[in-house]
């Protein structure tokens, strides 16, 4: 037993050494052991790749040992030793909330270095990308150092790699939303257009992931409170607007862009994915809701091409004078935009669908009739 403990201590020291010294460490993995040869070190560390691997045969032993030591050392004053055990235990099994909480206690007592902790939680996420605790620990660190000091490039890089490698990683997307609201919208002028561009690229390459669509919808919705400030090329392309247009115009422009550019491309290239249909529902539903809130109506402008939309919207939509007041149903239905929306959906549903899309289009037609009240 003593001999075992000695060995475990040795492994533990070495892993901790790597985590502390390699500033760019990116990856941790458990490697399935091939033989039962315990005379060879179970640590595989490739410096050029900044990757650290631990053979599985020692993982269970190491975790059990570290766990015992943590509770033994918890009340003592030697925080560095305690942290060493925590690092090992959490790397092997990041789902133990108690250990994260001990780490928070140390963090609150200013006993840990924040940048090392960010690196460590990133390492945990490279191995268990869906570890909720690791994300929430990162947020705790940002709260401690102040949101303004957050390095968003680093955060974005981390989120890119975890969301790319693990499908439907809601924890990671929630974290992105947190960064978006607490950091990007507050400290960056081009946040909205950059995230719109980012999410468009994302949904085009991850067509069946509701998470990505949900994030895009969240960004679009947040246009309500934050007008697109910096007009870059993307926002010009999407919004086609001048400085005079209101937040409400912007959302409508964006939804039209979604309906005319983004969705047709997705439907065409990736038939049979329900997530695309759900996104379509979001677009139509939101557009319908906005139309209800638009105040004055100009019926004389007949144009509604994607590019002509700017002209039309100037006429159709003017910001509300006394808060949000809904148009009467028939008034709303007489707007050109509404008519065009109905026509657009009718033409779309008259298209040629195959296989799974036949069922999905039937559901969509039903949804339009029962939920939005558009009969096509």
């Amino acid at each position: 037993m003593d001999c075992d403990n000695e060995m475990l201590e040795k492994i533990l020291k070495k892993v901790n050494g790597v985590v502390k010294e390699d500033n760019e460490i990116r990856e941790f993995t458990l490697i399935p052991s091939v033989g039962k040869d315990r005379n060879v070190s179970p640590i595989n560390y490739v410096w050029e790749e900044h990757a650290l691997g631990l053979e599985t045969w020692c993982a269970g032993l190491l975790f059990g040992y570290a766990q015992k030591q943590i509770f033994k050392w918890r009340c003592r004053k030697d925080h560095d030793t305690l942290n060493d055990y925590l690092v090992i235990a959490l790397l092997i099994n990041p789902e133990v909330r108690t250990f994260w909480n001990i780490k928070r206690e140390l963090l609150d007592g200013n006993l840990l270095d924040c940048s090392t902790e960010l690196r460590f939680s990133r390492l945990v996420l490279s191995w268990k990308p869906k570890s909720y605790e690791a994300y929430s620990y990162r947020i705790a660190i940002f709260k401690k150092i102040g949101h303004a000091k957050m390095d968003f490039r680093e955060e974005s890089d981390l989120l890119d790699s975890v969301t790319r490698n693990t499908p439907n990683n809601y924890h990671a997307w929630n974290h992105r939303i947190w960064c978006f609201e607490n950091y990007m919208l507050v400290y960056e002028t081009d946040a909205l257009s950059r995230e719109l561009r980012f999410s468009e690229d994302w949904i085009k390459t991850h067509v069946s992931e509701h998470t990505g669509f949900h994030y895009r919808q969240h960004v679009i919705d947040s246009l309500k409170g934050h007008k697109l400030k910096e007009i870059d090329e993307y926002s010009k392309l999407v919004l086609n607007c001048d400085s005079g247009c209101t937040a409400q115009h912007q959302i409508l422009y964006l939804l039209i862009y979604e309906l005319h550019k983004v969705l047709p491309d997705l439907h065409h290239h990736f038939p049979g994915h329900e997530s695309i249909w759900y996104h379509r529902k979001y677009v139509v539903h939101t557009m319908h809701a906005h139309l209800c809130q638009i105040h004055s109506v100009d019926r004389d402008i007949p144009q509604f091409e994607f590019n002509g939309a700017a002209k039309l919207l100037d006429g159709v939509a003017r910001s509300c004078r006394n808060g949000v007041r809904c148009l009467k149903e028939e008034q709303m239905q007489s707007t050109n935009l509404y008519k065009r929306l109905v026509l657009n959906e009718r033409e779309f549903l008259d298209g040629d669908f195959k296989d799974e899309d036949v069922r999905l289009s039937r559901n969509y037609r039903m949804w339009l009739r029962c939920i939005v009240g558009i009969i096509v």
Partner: protein, 199 residues
């Protein structure tokens, strides 16, 4: 994710299938897994080609991956391993395209004697990069139209493709082409599904 992981050209004879050329993109996997995953993809390609009849097309689902196979009448076979989001039609279009080009470069009589290391067919790597975006295939209308006439059999697991009595686990254990590491990873992947287990 819309992603292609592997493109391979194989030659199928009565004795089995032989790799002629392969291209892999496994950068998205963790460093220690890449080698094993690549080996395993090669193994799966060969296994499925051997169990696909000449002049037929199949698509086989396994977990979140899809493996598309086309074995031509003359024994030349192509495999695309991709993510489930990658459109099947485009994958099969791509197979037709690179097999045609391979056959134009190497005559059928030379196939039995070709060695993988002697073959110069860099086009496979070029296509692996280019067709990561399936929209690139929009230009290949001719092949796509021909494909519309063809029946593609879809299987929901690899087991469905195997002959009666065969099991993937046994094939993996018996395989001489897979290293111990790759077998270890395969076993772990089968066993672990949740985020809390280890070892």
């Amino acid at each position: 994710m819309v992603k292609i992981f592997a493109l391979s050209v194989l030659h199928k004879t009565d004795a089995g299938a032989v790799w002629l050329k392969s291209a892999y993109d496994v950068q998205s996997f963790s460093y220690f897994q890449r080698g094993s995953i690549q080996e395993f993809m090669g193994f799966v390609s060969k296994t499925i080609v051997e169990r696909t009849q000449a002049a037929s097309r199949q698509s086989v689902k396994e977990g979140e991956y899809l493996c598309h196979v086309y074995v031509r009448g003359d024994g030349l076979a192509g495999v695309v391993i991709c993510d489930q989001e990658y459109p099947s039609r485009v994958a099969h279009t791509l197979i037709t395209k690179f097999l045609d080009e391979f056959a134009a470069k190497y005559q059928p009589h030379s196939w039995p004697n070709l060695q993988e290391k002697d073959i110069e067919f860099n086009q496979l790597n070029v296509y692996l990069a280019k067709y990561q975006n399936p929209r690139e295939a929009d230009a290949l209308t001719k092949i796509q139209e021909d494909l519309d006439e063809t029946k593609i059999i879809l299987h929901n697991t690899i087991e469905a493709v195997l002959e009666r009595g065969e099991k993937l686990d046994d094939l993996v254990t018996k395989s001489e082409g897979l290293s111990l590491h790759a077998k270890g990873f395969y076993k772990t992947a089968r066993k672990t599904n949740s985020c809390c287990t280890f070892g």
